[in-house]
Amino acid sequence: MTRRHTPRIAIAVFSAATLALGACSAGSLGSSDDEGSGGSKVALSFLTDNQPETVKIAEGLAADFTAKNPDITIKVETRPQGTEGDNIVKTRLSTGDMTDIFMYNSGSLMQALAPQKNLTALDDFAGQLDDNFKKAVGSDGKIYGVPFGNYMAGAILYNKEVYDKNGLKVPTTWDEFQANNAKLKAAGVDPVIQTYGETWTSQLFILGDYHNVEAATPGWADQYTKNQAKYATTPAAKAGFDHLQQVHDAGYVNKDFASAKLTDGLNKLAKGQGAQYPILSAMVSQLIADNPGSENKIGLFAIPGADAAKNGLTVWAPNGLYIPSSTTGDKLEAAKKFAGFVASPDGCASMGKASTPTGPYAVTGCKLPDSVPQAVKDMQTYIDKQGASSLALEFLSPVKGPALEQICVEVGSGIRKADAAAKLYDEDVKKQAQQLGLEGW
């Protein structure tokens, strides 16, 4: 019987408090009205992808946030990664069935969600965010997300012990890279690891090469968006496809490249069976989790291009955390509070506790701990140097074709030649551009 009274008492307390506070409170967002929310518990749902490290971070954030705000609980739900996950996010958004908060890519994939219609603007937190990230989650002058995770690089992870044993130096041009590969092959090590068992991992030679494209032809992304520049007709852009073909043709890849998965690739690299693995730097955390003690064994260098002086790193902005427009009322207030927490040094600390940070944070005032892995230190060197890093193409242009993974697998397996692949990809992006209603397509 007593339990039945509790909500009524709570409501009475709540309304009394609201009345009392109504006169003086400015109703500012994010300030914690402890008396005001005394009785109203809010439960939020939070959708994230199912990569183990991501889930750890999401659950860590939820727990740390609830510790500070006992009235708000957050339940983490997971979805698949890759295109299957894109599908789920889009379908749930279009049916108004999205969780109260969700994690999703920033950049071109986020633009494809039609943010003006489907997401709640989070301009209140703009002051806390770094400029590159704001570009990646911005649309029509508003920002729609706060950063989940760290910046990462599309680069080549390499085994420093194998490099030392063979007396190799980090290459800054493609020719040096190929010379290294020849020596590694002669020494009986797989020079380049490829893992087409997970098709997305095939794209790094193209996507991670964007800094070199931009350095050779400044402003390429804009022309590309306007349908004035093409992969097939820009030599610097086509180079990525050429590189993928050369590595395959010279027999520099591991024997099981066609069926190996990401985890296999990371383990090969950690064990020194393979010397170099073009992959996203964030995968270092999984490599270290699976191979303890390899923090300082694995280094990182930018994908080499034609010109050593212009060589630099291609950087990916962190994923974003978004609030769909279907979240309203108390839940919206609570969700915004959570977004504010994530975009604060406390949020960074919580993320860093859950999983080894693998790159710089996008929140002002967040610092990386001193004990980061070697690959992250290498990455920082590029970022600190003026003009030695650029955002990846997907953050500068909304145009990205859906079949790039398959096309790269074809080139990397010797099924299709680089020239034909570049042309095919140019056709593929056309559909995306038309779907987005861009001008000039």
Partner: protein, 294 residues
């Protein structure tokens, strides 16, 4: 004769026509409306919320799709291989399993068992068995000194490997249909043949094969339709890869949908619908006519 017509008419509808209404509403809402709207949406550029009418552009784009031409070809190859093998193997197994062999009931259930297993489960299991480096099949082959190919990763094998797994999974149903067909052949024919001193082959050639023809037609039709719209097994095993080498029309459509090209993938579905109709409708008419001739 004229006097009979109204009576026949009354006989045809013993219930008032609004009795049809509930079924008609369900049918209209779940089948007719989506079909008609999908024809409309196939003419639009359709994003999450809005759609823009663009005429036949989607069809133009769809037919320009490089993966589509190879996808169409793969679809036909896949359908013909699976259908053909199911007919041959199904008939052979049915003849075996209708003869007097030991453990017939057990063997019949063993052959039928794969039909009951989830396709995705079968796909994932065989993906592991067929792994080029660590898979059981290639490891067994290497024991006898054969270097097995990359069943699912070699472009020239991928589609065939998936087709063979499809046959493994589907041959039970074909066998079942054939067993029913063979069992329903009157024993008199076999007795007469025995009196004439016919051999087993002559029995098969002149009695089983022609009299099991309805079963053959059913197996061909079902497996061809299944082959043309096959998707789940291919998606579970290769996702159309490596590259586009095992893409069939259904997986091409699915990938368009995943990429958010809803209008384009709807256009693809209309094409698939027309393709299946164009192949199956005349074939079914032809086969049925043959059956009447029999």
């Amino acid at each position: 004769m004229a006097g009979l017509a109204p009576a026949a008419g009354r006989k045809r509808s013993p219930y008032p026509s609004w009795f049809y209404l509930p079924a008609a509403i369900v049918y209209a809402v779940l089948f007719l409306v989506p079909t008609v709207t999908s024809f409309y949406f196939s003419l639009t550029r359709w994003s999450i919320f809005d759609s823009q009418f663009i005429g036949f552009d989607n069809y133009v784009t769809f037919f320009r799709e490089p993966a589509l031409v190879s996808g169409l070809w793969h679809t036909v190859v896949y359908a013909v291989i699976t259908s053909g093998l199911k007919v041959v193997l199904g008939l052979g197994l049915a003849v075996l399993l209708t003869s007097q062999i030991i453990g017939r009931g057990y063997l019949r259930s063993v052959v039928f068992f794969p039909v009951l297993v989830s396709t995705i489960g079968v796909g994932l299991t065989f993906t592991i068995l067929l792994d080029p480096e660590e898979g059981l099949i290639n490891e067994s082959l290497s024991l006898i000194g054969i270097q097995g190919p990359g069943w699912l990763t070699d472009p020239s094998f991928a589609l065939f490997s998936v087709a063979l797994v499809d046959v493994w999974k589907g041959v039970g149903l074909a066998t079942l249909i054939y067993i029913a067909g063979i069992v329903s052949i009157p024993q008199e024919y076999f007795e007469a043949a025995r009196v004439d001193g016919a051999t087993a082959w002559q029995n098969f050639r002149s009695i089983v094969l022609p009299l099991a023809r309805p079963a053959t037609f059913t197996v061909i039709l079902l497996s061809l339709i299944g082959g043309l719209r096959s998707f789940d097994l291919i998606w579970a095993m290769t996702r159309g890869g490596p590259g586009f080498t095992s893409d069939v029309i259904a997986s091409v459509i699915y990938k368009q949908y995943q990429a958010g090209f809803y209008g384009l993938s709807t256009a693809g579905n209309v094409v698939l619908f027309l393709l299946v109709t164009a192949i199956i409708f005349p074939l079914s008419r032809y086969l049925n006519k043959k059956e009447v001739d029999l």
